[in-house]
């Protein structure tokens, strides 16, 4: 028996060796080191700048109007994306929860945008919204809704609006699938009892479906919050100006794009490391709060 255990332990050691070593060297070690970098004034453009300045970078960021402007803009995008994704996802999940011929096909096709590279989706929509030849202009013109072609991405507010739409388009399949799974796990009998008790469709939706979906909604909200909070790819090809432009459009600068700029364009490593940690802390706190609040509410019911 003892020999068997030691043989098992050798197997386990071999099995976990590579994953553990890889994670330690590629993730944990650089993560800790990045934290220490965030405590220095390191700037590649300034010689001898890598001195220890404790939390000054964090202080600098938290008192910098640009940081708050970028954070605010990111949160606005996140808020609208979450509302749209949850709304659209819920409606499509309700539809796919019905039985009808062709349902499997609709379900299969609806996840396609989610499977595409987000950076491609940004470009795709950039082309759809093109002011001279884009499909949206062509379509609306043909339908007589507009009489002149529009430059949809011209105004800053419009750029934010379309970034929200494209992020929603890229990600709505995830909430859809998660909520559909939630809907399918609700026992059908409950609805029959409620119908006998005289509850109309809207009452049933409000009093039964939505409370029972809360765990699925929590999962969708958390995952989608983190995804939208760290939005980068979609904006990059939609409005940021692209790698070729070399100038990052200030009107759609989100936290991740700001961080990319600080580290890889401005080469301010210490400040950039601090920003990366702030992004990490903010998304962790938000994720934690979502799970705690919504899950507690779901459990209490």
């Amino acid at each position: 028996m003892r020999r068997l255990i030691s043989r098992d332990e050798r197997f386990v050691a071999l099995a976990l060796l590579l994953p553990v070593v890889l994670l330690a060297f590629i993730v944990y070690f650089p993560a800790i080191q990045t934290f220490f970098v965030s405590l220095t004034a390191w700037d590649l453009r300034l010689q001898g700048s890598d001195r220890f300045i404790f939390l000054s970078n964090y202080h600098k960021l938290l008192t910098d109007p640009e940081f708050w402007q970028v954070t605010g803009r990111t949160l606005v995008i996140v808020a609208f994306v979450l509302i749209l994704e949850l709304g659209i996802g819920f409606l499509i999940a309700l539809l796919l929860n019905e039985k009808f011929r062709g349902r499997a096909l609709v379900r299969a096709l609806v996840i396609l945008p989610w499977m595409l590279p987000p950076v491609v989706n940004g470009f795709l929509w950039n082309w759809v919204l093109n002011g001279e030849y884009g499909a949206l202009n062509g379509l609306l013109y043909q339908l007589g809704i507009i009489h002149h072609y529009q430059f949809w991405l011209e105004r800053p507010a419009a750029q934010i609006f379309w970034a929200v739409i494209v992020q929603t388009w890229t990600r709505f399949s995830f909430p859809t699938i998660v909520m559909l799974a939630g809907l399918q796990s609700i026992p059908k009998g409950i609805y029959e009892v409620a119908a006998i008790d005289g509850a109309g469709p809207l009452t049933r939706l409000r009093a039964l479906t939505i409370p029972m979906l809360l765990p699925s909604i929590t999962v969708a909200l958390t995952v989608e919050f983190i995804s939208a909070f760290q939005i980068f790819d979609v904006v990059w090809t939609l409005t940021a100006g692209g790698s070729a432009g070399n100038v990052i459009n200030p009107f759609t600068k989100t936290l991740m794009i700001y961080n990319y700029e600080v580290v890889f364009r401005d080469l301010r490593l210490g400040l950039g490391a601090a920003l990366a940690y702030l992004i990490l802390v903010m998304s962790s706190i938000a994720g934690f709060l979502f799970i705690k609040n919504l899950y507690n509410r779901a459990v209490q019911r």
Binding site: V106, M115, V119, L124, F174
Partner: protein, 295 residues
């Protein structure tokens, strides 16, 4: 059935199919348009007002152009479009395939260990591997860049494989251990009585049983790597290792005049994900939602 019941049923079906049409228009509209753009002639595509929603003269000309000629749209000042696209595709295929294979092997073995063997500090090691799942790799980026540079792996496919394999491990191990835990134990117990070692048992008994889980992990890892953009943008800078998504993003700023060719290049990048999604939907959806739903 009464006339009223029949009318109600018809009404329901009309509602359902109208809603389905709207949903599909939303989900597929932009994809349809880029495909149409890619097979349209330039004069049709750039006609105003546009009305070639179904191309009158579908053509593969744009694909042939970007893959063979493309010299009029030189990229990066050094290479023609065709060469950049070809190297981008080669790099992405190589990195995605290698990463998926490595991750499948590592996660099957580790997942088996977590699911079937009791060992010392098991929870600690599980936590050690999983901790990274919610944490973005972004928090490591400044030092990771130096580490990769130090290893001589900047602008190298090997460096990308190393990074993507590592960041894919947590989800993959989670999926595999969940999956293997659901496989009934009886078959293995018979193998133990026959005197099989852990290694034999894993290779001969578990791998065939866990094939759906393995497929899931392979496809999810492949797709995530294929679709990535930010990490290749940071860690690669020439045709040696630039991924197809990075190559495409380089075109976006510079070659917007050649919309029909841009569209063709975009379609090239989209083909693999779309085919995978259509043929292996079940595995992909399972892999991409299990971690979130069960977690």
């Amino acid at each position: 059935m009464t006339a009223k019941g029949k009318a109600r049923r018809t009404l329901r079906l009309i509602g359902i199919y109208t809603a389905s049409a709207a949903v599909l228009a939303w989900a597929l509209g932009p994809i349809y348009w880029i495909v149409v753009s890619a097979i349209s002639t330039r004069s049709e595509l750039l006609s105003r007002p546009y009305k070639h929603w179904i191309p009158w003269h579908p053509t593969l000309r744009n694909f042939i152009d970007i893959l063979t000629v493309g010299q009029q749209y030189r990229a990066g000042g050094s290479l023609p479009t065709a060469a950049l696209l070809a190297s981008g595709l080669r790099n992405t295929v190589l990195v995605s395939l290698s990463t998926a294979l490595i991750v499948v092997v590592l996660s099957t073995v580790a997942g088996y260990a977590f699911a079937r063997i009791r060992f010392r500090a098991q929870n600690f090691w599980f936590f050690f591997i999983m901790l990274m799942m919610p944490l973005p790799i972004w928090a490591t980026i400044v030092s990771l860049y130096y580490l990769i540079a130090h290893l001589g792996l900047l602008d190298a496919n090997l460096g990308m494989i190393l990074i993507f394999s590592t960041i894919s491990i947590p989800l993959a191990v989670w999926l595999m251990s969940t999956f293997i835990r659901d496989v009934p134990r009886e078959i293995e117990e018979a193998a133990v009585i026959d005197g099989a070692s852990r290694r034999q048992m894993l290779a001969l008994v578990m791998v065939p049983l866990a094939m759906p889980g393995i497929t899931s992990v392979f496809l999810v890892t492949f797709l995530n790597t294929w679709n990535s953009f930010l990490l290749p943008l940071i860690f690669t800078n020439t045709e040696r290792s630039q991924s197809i998504t990075v190559v495409l993003s380089l075109f976006v700023g510079q070659y917007e005049v050649a919309w029909e060719q841009m569209a063709a290049a975009t379609v090239l990048v989209m083909v693999a994900p779309i085919l995978l999604a259509l043929f292996f939907q079940r595995y992909l959806v399972q892999g991409l939602t299990t971690g979130a739903v069960k977690g």
